[in-house]
Subunit: 226 residues, 2 copies
Amino acid sequence: MGGEDTLLPVEPVFLKSLRDHVYGLVRDAIISGKLKGGDKLNERQLASQLGISTTPLKEALRVLEAEGLVRSEARRGIYVTFDAAQAEEMMLARAAIESMIARQAAKHVTKAQVTQLRTLIVEMRAGLETVDVLELIALNERFHNVIHEASGCGYLRRLQSGQNIYTQTARLIVLSEERERFQAVEEHEAIADAIASHDAELAERLMRDHVIRSGEKHLIRVQAEN
Amino acid sequence: MGGEDTLLPVEPVFLKSLRDHVYGLVRDAIISGKLKGGDKLNERQLASQLGISTTPLKEALRVLEAEGLVRSEARRGIYVTFDAAQAEEMMLARAAIESMIARQAAKHVTKAQVTQLRTLIVEMRAGLETVDVLELIALNERFHNVIHEASGCGYLRRLQSGQNIYTQTARLIVLSEERERFQAVEEHEAIADAIASHDAELAERLMRDHVIRSGEKHLIRVQAEN
DNA sequence: ATCTGAAATTTGATATATCAATTTGCCGCG
DNA sequence: CGCGGCAAATTGATATATCAAATTTCAGAT
C-alpha cells in the first residue's frame, strides 16, 4: 500500500457533505499519485483515519468506482485501478467528448457566443504578450466554457468534467513553455473560426487534435513528477 | 490457483450484492420510463418497498448520481434527471467514445483481429439472407467487441458501456426494417475496411456517423413507446 | 517440513439508530 | 384573508452495530 497515512483530516468547515469532501480527498490522492494503482483501501481503517464513519466513505468509494478509479471486490477489498495507461485513456475520453461538444456547439452557437469567443481570443493574444500564465489558464477555461454553453449539452459537459485529471500546477508547468502558449492560442483561434462558420466536422477534428496534443504534454509532465 | 472452473454451482443472482441488484432495478426503471425525469425518490420509502435497508440503496443511488441519471440535493431529495434530451446526449456520448475506440483500434489492430472482423462481416451477410434478426444483433455485438479488444482501451470501453440505454426489444424493432439491416452491415463493412487499413481518421468518422445514425433510429423508437 | 482444515480474525455488506436541515402545518395576529 | 413564525413531521446525512464471506492462523497429522 502506498502512503495513505498522508491523506488528511476532514476537520475543515462543513462546506459540503462528508461524503463529497472525502470523495474529493480520495480522488485527489489517486490522481496526484499519493495512492497508486494496486493499492488496497480498507474501509474501516480509512474511515478511522479520516475521523468519520464508514457510511459516507462507502458512498464516496461507490462514486469513485463508478468513475473507474477504484474497483471493489465484495468482501475482499477495494483496489486503486488508476495508472498511467488509464490517465492516457481519460485524456482520450476528454478529447472524444470535448470534440463532440465542439461539434454540437458549431451547430447551435449564437452570434453573441461567437463574439464572446473572438473576444477571448483577443484577450489570449494580450496574455501572450504580457506572459501572464495564470490569466491564460483562466481564459482557456472561459473559452471552453463558452463552447460548452453553446453546445447546449449539459450531460456531455458533466461527463467531460469527470475526465479531468490535470492539476493547476500541471497547467502552469505546461504553459510555462512559450511554444506551447502560442500553439494553444493558435489552435483555439482555429476552433473558434470553425465554430463561428458552423463547420461541425472541422470544429470536432480541431478540438480533438487540440485536446490530444495538449493532453500528451500534460501526461508527460505528470509522469515526470512520479 | 486454477481448477476452480468446475466449482461454481452458486446461483449468480445470489452472488450479486443488494446494492448492485437495486442499482440495476432503479436504472432500468429510469431508462425504461417507469421513473420519469422530475420524479422524486424517497430513500426510506424506496428501501422499504424493496425490502432492504437504506445503506445499499444509498450506495446504488450514489452510482446513479455519478452516472447523471439522478441528482441528489442534501436533505431535500433525490430527483430523476433522465429525459429525452439526455437520452440523445448519451447517444452522442456513445458515438464520441465508440469512435475514439475505433480510432485506437485502427492503430493497434492485429491481423488476427482483422480476420475476425472480416469473418463477422461474412456472417452478417448470411444473416441478411436468412433474416435472422437475433443472430444479427449478436453479430453486431461481437463486431463491436472485437474492435473494443483491438483498441486495447479498457477504460474507454467501460465508459462506453455506461452510455448504453437501448433494450434488446428496441434493437429488435430497429433491425426489423430490412433497409436498416442492410445499411448497418454496409456501415460495419466500411468500418472494418478502415480499421484493416489502419486509417484511424476514417474509422473514427465512420464509426461516429454509424452510431449517431443508428442511435437516432433507436431514439425515435424509444420516444414512440412513451 | 508440508499439508490439511477448523477456528479466529478481518472486512465488506447490511441493518438500525440518531442527527440535523428542511419542509409542512397550524395557530395567532394584522 | 393573508402573513409570520414556531412546532411537528419529514428526510437525507451520519454513526454504530451486526452479519457473513474471505483470509489468516495454527494445531495436528503425515
